[in-house]
Symmetry: C2
Subunit: 344 residues, 2 copies
């Protein structure tokens, strides 16, 4: 496995985006998003996605430059029409607007419609945390998950993200698929030829499966049954129904559907901590809780959500980003086809 | 099992509250909350709680009348000091204020500190839905659940509730413990002598148990491991850390701790749908999703969150509320001790 210094990998991402005709004003937002995920060890939401994203650009399914326009809904709420552009661009614009609204009124929310896959919610949570905000980031996605009691896909893996800033800058970040497994986890198991845990996927006829190939053709089950189902519905209602984005089968798969724009929606909510208490008091209180939680198990056994990302980030900044062979090869081939180059 | 007409049971609740010295202005809010839960089939959050609630009143641990005071934090946010009063009273005040804030600015949030157990989030979600609002209701509770990777109790069952109004008035209501099991479920299994499902509880030494007696002495595990842990932390941060309420072991058990006020916190967020689209358009879109979800499994196999409550409500309004024998006996004994009476 290759280790590529982050600035080099960022330059590669930028060059590939530019060579594919992505608007210059959008390149930085997309590259920053992908690189942050690579640095955080979430490589399946990093530069690994460039080939599929750029294939969708070339097919006209992700528009660039997109004319993204905000509509103010109230003092605290706005709606962003993402014009079928990059979800990463829309997500960053929406987060920054939600932060601005929260700064002004204490609380801000931005819905996004006509968007595409926006990556991890964690990226936006961290962005808002940098501004002293607690935030929630939701996005719907194409149907891959069954309802509780059902077996045909009807909800996306509909990730739910929440977070809060901490004094040391390592934000607490909860970011989870509302399915028992993330779609990217199934893909990773398929690529590595590893079986899935039991009880999380059913095949086309509703029978439980652990074979990742069968799972790719089957349907994920919601995490913890009715609980994950309820959360997935919440994500679908807030990011899809309320925003005017696509809902359920109106949202297209980025990997399998080359007939339609993504049509997904997002929902970003920011809350300004400073209205509740001085940020230092909040940090004191959060660290008190963090300490109680950390000491509630064996030495080093309990970690807070986000810790693994920050550890990966420290390691990857120092040693370079670990690039899987298949990703390194795919990017080299893509660079060749676009008349640019990679340094490996 | 007794069936008691709802108006009769409401009158019993009101009489017991009054006879215990609960402030006249608070009686209606408390009785309405308990009765709604009984009607919805959630009897473990209904009048069954009167004996313990009134025992805490008599011990001076729930103050009545409480001098509950709001502090405005911004155009969209407020903090309620519940003065150690009834959680049911504080929850209703907070919900109504969040709705008012949302009506004015599109989005409203109210945090509550110095409160007590507030019942089900579902009650407040339904209250906000009646005003055309999507809402989220969170409350922390005394430590009963382990962190992911830990085995000592450090977080409450920290219920998470979300909901949205539907055209037929039967709001969609997600209301779940972030633990794999609710504390009240363990108690119900203990009372009925039924074993618990596997993998959801550990004993004092971290060993898995299914015996409900051992579970009552042990620690619940979070739902779906890291996912439930992340959600429980979110609930603790928003309803405890941010509001200035107690956090983790600073919150007292209503059943076991007669030394302290409850010191729990709540967090209610309301969002005004009308700012996003006409409510009829929202209903159309939500019913489209509901139809897709309902048809994604076998006939009648998929139900939406909240459906079971509304079915129970229709049945209980018609046939009377099913009162378990132990509850009927406990209320009769309590009435006798207080010099009032029950009609059974």
């Amino acid at each position: 496995m290759l280790r590529v210094p982050a600035p080099d990998l960022r330059a590669v991402a930028q060059a590939l985006l530019r060579a594919s005709g992505v608007d210059g004003g959008e390149v930085e937002a997309i590259a920053d998003n992908l690189l942050w995920n690579d640095l955080a060890g979430r490589t399946n939401h990093g530069v690994e996605r460039l080939p599929i994203l750029l294939r969708r650009v070339q097919a006209g399914l992700i528009r660039t430059p997109a004319r993204m326009t905000f509509r103010s809904l109230s003092e605290a709420a706005a709606l962003l029409d993402a014009d079928d552009g990059f979800g990463q661009v829309a997500g960053a614009l929406a987060t920054d607007r939600a932060v601005d609204l929260a700064r002004a009124t204490g609380l801000g929310v931005v819905g996004v419609q006509r968007s595409n896959f926006y990556g991890t919610g964690a990226y936006y949570i961290n962005r808002a945390a940098g501004a002293g905000m607690i935030s929630i980031a939701l996005s719907n996605s194409f149907p891959k998950v069954a309802a509780e009691g059902g077996y045909r896909p009807v909800l996306g893996t509909n990730p739910f993200a929440f977070g809060a800033p901490r004094r040391d800058g390592r934000a607490l970040i909860v970011d989870m698929s509302t399915a028992g497994l993330a779609g990217s986890t199934v893909r990773a198991h398929q690529q590595d030829g590893r079986d899935l845990p039991e009880g999380l996927v059913v095949d086309e006829d509703g029978r439980p499966v652990t074979d990742p190939d069968a799972a790719m053709r089957g349907t994920l089950l919601p995490a913890s049954g009715p609980k994950g189902f309820g959360l997935a519905l919440m994500v679908e209602i807030l990011s899809g129904v309320l925003t005017g984005a696509g809902v359920s089968s109106q949202v297209a798969s980025m990997y399998k559907d080359f007939e339609r724009h993504g049509n997904s929606g997002h929902f970003i909510l920011a809350l300004d901590i400073a209205r509740w208490m001085p940020i230092e008091t909040f940090y004191d209180r959060l660290e008190l809780l963090a300490g109680m939680v950390a000491s509630s198990g064996g030495e080093g056994c309990v970690r807070l959500p986000g810790d693994a990302r920050w550890d990966a980030m420290a390691e990857n900044r120092e040693q370079g980003i670990a690039l899987e062979d298949k990703t390194a090869t795919a990017l080299r081939e893509l660079a060749g086809a676009l008349g640019t180059a990679v340094p490996w």
